[in-house]
C-alpha cells in the first residue's frame, strides 16, 4: 500500500480564549505575559487528521512545520508526543511583522525545501491573528489545489483524496488530486492525547539553540539518537527574496490597535418586582420598541 509524506502547519498562539481578569491590565491593555502559549486549537484537529492517515497508510510520515520564535519548538515536541515523526522550526528575526502573505511566502519557501510532500494540512484559523488566510495562501504559492474546512478524510485512492467539508450551511464531499493543501475545521475530531511512550522517547528533543542553552549531561544523546534533533531553519536555510519577508513583504500594515475596554453607559437598573416589570413593559410599548 502506498504511504504519504504529510506536513502539518502548526502555530503557537497565546491562549486568547482564556483571557481572564488578570489578563487585562488596569489600563485595559492585554497582559500578554498572563496568557499561556498553546498549540493553536484547530492545528490539533489538523494533526489528528494527519495521524489518521499515518495509521491507515503504514510508512506515512507526519512532519510539523512551525514558524515562530525559538520557544515555538514546544509545539513540535507536543506534536511528537501525540504521534508526529519530526518537525521543523522556521525562525528568524527577518520574519517579524509578517502579515499573512509574508507568512505564507516564508512557509511555502520552506516547503519547497522539504520537497516531495503529498498532503499539507493546516488548521482553518489561528486564534490570535484570526484570519484563516495562511492555508489557502500557501496553496496558491505552491500552485496546489486547496480544500478548506475539512472535517474528515474519507479515503485516498488512485492519487486522489476524498474529504468531507463543513460549510456554513451544509456539507460537501469532494475529491482532490495529490499533492494538495487542506485546512481542517474545529468541528473535526479532537486530537488524540499524548502517548506515554512517545513522551519518554521525545522529551529531550531540542533545536540547536535549545541544546546550546541546556544541560551538558545529555549532549551525548543527540549523536546516538538523531531523531532528538529538531531542525531549525533561518532565512539562510531557505531560498528567499528578502523583500518578500517580514514588514517589507506585507501589503497590510497595522495602523492602530485599540484594546477593547468596556464602556459603561447609563442603564436603568430594575428589580424583578411587579411594579418595575409593569413600568418596563409600558415604556417599551410607548416607545414602539415592542407591540
Amino acid at each position: 500500500m502506498k504511504s504519504f509524506k504529510v506536513i502539518v502547519l502548526a502555530k503557537q498562539v497565546p491562549d486568547t480564549r482564556n483571557v481572564g481578569k488578570d489578563a487585562m491590565k488596569a489600563d485595559g491593555t492585554i497582559n500578554r505575559a498572563a496568557l499561556s502559549a498553546i498549540f493553536n486549537p484547530e492545528d490539533l484537529n489538523a494533526l489528528e487528521q494527519a495521524l489518521r492517515i499515518k495509521e491507515n497508510f503504514p510508512g506515512t510520515t507526519v512532519t510539523i512545520l512551525t514558524m515562530g520564535p525559538g520557544r515555538a519548538a514546544e509545539i513540535i515536541r507536543e506534536g511528537m508526543f501525540r504521534g508526529a515523526d519530526d518537525g521543523i522550526l522556521l525562525t528568524d528575526r527577518a520574519f517579524a511583522g509578517s502579515d499573512t502573505l509574508a507568512t505564507s511566502y516564508a512557509i511555502s519557501q520552506a516547503l519547497k525545501k522539504v520537497k516531495d510532500y503529498d498532503i499539507i494540512i493546516a488548521g482553518r484559523q489561528a486564534i490570535d491573528g484570526d484570519t484563516a488566510q495562511v492555508g489557502p495562501q500557501v496553496a496558491e504559492k505552491l500552485c496546489l489545489p486547496q480544500v478548506t474546512y475539512v472535517e474528515e478524510v474519507q479515503k485516498i485512492e488512485s492519487g486522489k483524496i476524498f474529504v468531507k467539508r463543513r460549510l456554513e450551511r451544509g456539507v460537501e464531499l469532494v475529491s482532490c488530486p495529490l499533492p494538495m493543501v487542506m485546512t481542517v475545521n474545529g468541528s473535526a475530531p479532537d486530537c488524540r492525547a499524548r502517548n506515554a511512550k512517545l513522551i519518554m522517547k521525545y522529551k529531550h528533543a531540542k533545536t540547536v539553540t535549545e541544546l546550546q542553552n541546556s544541560n551538558e549531561d545529555y549532549l551525548h544523546l543527540y549523536n546516538d539518537r538523531p531523531y532528538l534533533n529538531i531542525p531549525e531553519w533561518t532565512v539562510s536555510d531557505i531560498e528567499v527574496d528578502h523583500a518578500e519577508l517580514g514588514l517589507s513583504g506585507s501589503p497590510t500594515k497595522v495602523k492602530t490597535v485599540e484594546n477593547v475596554v468596556l464602556q459603561a453607559k447609563e442603564a436603568k437598573v430594575l428589580s424583578p418586582s411587579d411594579d418595575d416589570m409593569d413600568t418596563l413593559m409600558r415604556e417599551l410599548i410607548e416607545s414602539h420598541t415592542i407591540g
Binding site: P145, T252, L270, P272
Partner: protein
C-alpha cells in the same frame, strides 16, 4: 478604472445576503471616492442576475456563466477574479467573510500580491501619513477588525498594493436598495479565456445544503439565552416570550454547547451578527465574543442574577434577578398593557 468591486456569492440563483450588504457598503465607498461600483457574478444560469444586483447601485456587473462554475469551487473562481482584477485594476475589492469568501479571498490576494484584511467590522475612507518615509496617502481604506479573540480592534491599511481587499461577515453591514430602477451595464466574460481545464481539479461529489429555518437577522426583537438559562426546558420560556413579542430566539455559545438550543441560533463572533430594535439577554454574562454579535442592537435589556455581569455595561435596562421569575412577569405585563 480604479473602481470598487464586490464579489457576489450566488446560491440557487440568488445573490447572498452578505453580497447585498457589501454592495450597499461598496456604493457608499464609491460615492465617497467618486468612482463606480462594480460587481462580479460567477456561476451558472445567471440569466437576469443583474436585476438582483443593479438596485444596489451597481454600475457594471461582470458575468461569467458556465455549467462548471456552479456550485462554487476555488480554482476556477480564483482564476476569473485574478485575471479580471488584473484587467480592471479595482482599488477596493470586497467579499463575504463566509465559507466562500474566506476560501477565495486569500487565494486571490496571494496571486495578486495584494493585502487582505479578514473579517472587518467597519470600513471607512481615510488618509495616512507615513512619517518614516515622509509620504502621505490619501483616501485609503481603513479596514477595522477585531483580532486576538476579539480582545483588540485593529485598523489595517494597505498603502501600496491594489486592490485593497477585505472580507466582511454577514449581518455586519446594512443592506439597502438604492433605487429599484437603477440601470448599469452587463459585461459577459468569455469563460474559456479565464479558466483552464486544470482549474477543475477539485470535484464536488455530493452536496447537502441546509435551508436555514431561523432568521434572526431579520427579526426586530431577539431574545437570547445563555448558560444561565440552566436547561433546555427553561429555554421554552424564551420561545414563549418570542412568540408573544414577535421575535426570534438566539443563544450564547455556552448555551449552544450545553445543548440547550441548536447551533444556528448562536450569536457572536463565531455565530451570526444581529442588530435588532430590541435585544433581551437572559442569563448571558456578555463576554466579548458574544457582544461582537449583538452590541449594535438599538436597545438592550440584560436579565442576570449577577449585578456585575459584563453585559450590564452595554445594556439600556439592567434587571438584576432570576430569569425564572423575570420572564413570566414580562409576558404577563406585556399582555396586560397591550389589552
Amino acid at each position: 478604472m480604479n473602481n470598487v468591486v464586490v464579489y457576489c456569492e450566488i446560491e440557487d440563483g440568488h445573490v447572498a445576503e452578505v453580497s447585498q450588504e457589501l454592495m450597499t457598503k461598496g456604493r457608499g465607498l464609491a460615492n465617497e471616492l467618486g468612482v463606480k461600483l462594480e460587481a462580479v457574478a460567477i456561476g451558472h444560469e445567471l440569466e437576469g442576475i443583474e436585476n438582483q444586483i443593479f438596485p444596489y447601485g451597481v454600475d457594471t456587473v461582470y458575468v461569467a456563466d458556465d455549467a462548471r462554475l456552479a456550485p462554487f469551487t476555488t480554482l476556477p473562481h480564483t482564476a476569473i477574479i485574478v485575471k479580471l482584477f488584473q484587467e480592471q485594476k479595482p482599488q477596493i475589492a470586497l467579499m463575504g467573510a463566509s465559507s466562500i469568501g474566506r476560501d477565495l479571498g486569500p487565494r486571490v490576494s496571494s496571486a495578486l500580491h495584494s493585502g487582505l484584511t479578514a473579517d472587518c467590522t467597519s470600513l471607512v475612507i481615510g488618509n495616512h501619513e507615513d512619517k518614516k518615509q515622509g509620504k502621505t496617502y490619501e483616501n485609503l481604506l481603513y479596514q477595522i477588525r477585531p483580532a486576538f479573540g476579539g480582545n483588540i480592534i485593529a485598523t489595517i491599511i494597505n498603502p501600496d498594493c491594489r486592490p485593497q481587499m477585505a472580507t466582511v461577515r454577514e449581518g455586519v453591514m446594512k443592506k439597502e436598495i438604492l433605487d429599484p430602477k437603477y440601470k448599469g451595464k452587463v459585461v459577459k466574460l468569455e469563460v474559456a479565456k479565464y479558466v483552464s481545464d486544470a482549474d477543475f481539479a477539485v470535484e464536488i461529489i455530493e452536496r447537502h445544503m441546509e435551508k436555514s429555518k431561523v432568521n434572526m437577522k431579520a427579526a426586530p426583537i431577539v431574545i437570547a439565552g445563555g448558560y444561565g438559562m440552566g436547561s433546555k426546558e427553561n429555554f421554552q420560556l424564551l420561545f414563549e416570550l418570542a412568540e408573544v413579542l414577535g421575535g426570534e430566539v438566539g443563544a450564547s455559545r455556552a448555551a449552544v454547547d450545553a445543548g440547550y438550543v441548536e447551533h444556528e441560533r448562536q450569536i457572536g463572533q463565531t455565530g451570526v451578527t444581529v442588530r435588532p430594535k430590541l435585544y433581551i439577554a437572559c442569563g448571558i454574562s456578555g463576554q466579548i465574543q458574544h457582544r461582537a454579535g449583538m452590541e449594535e442592537s438599538a436597545q438592550i435589556i440584560a436579565i442576570n442574577t449577577d449585578p456585575e455581569a459584563p453585559i450590564n455595561a452595554i445594556a439600556d435596562y439592567v434587571i438584576t434577578g432570576d430569569i425564572a421569575e423575570v420572564l413570566p412577569k414580562m409576558i404577563k405585563y406585556y399582555k396586560k398593557n397591550t389589552k
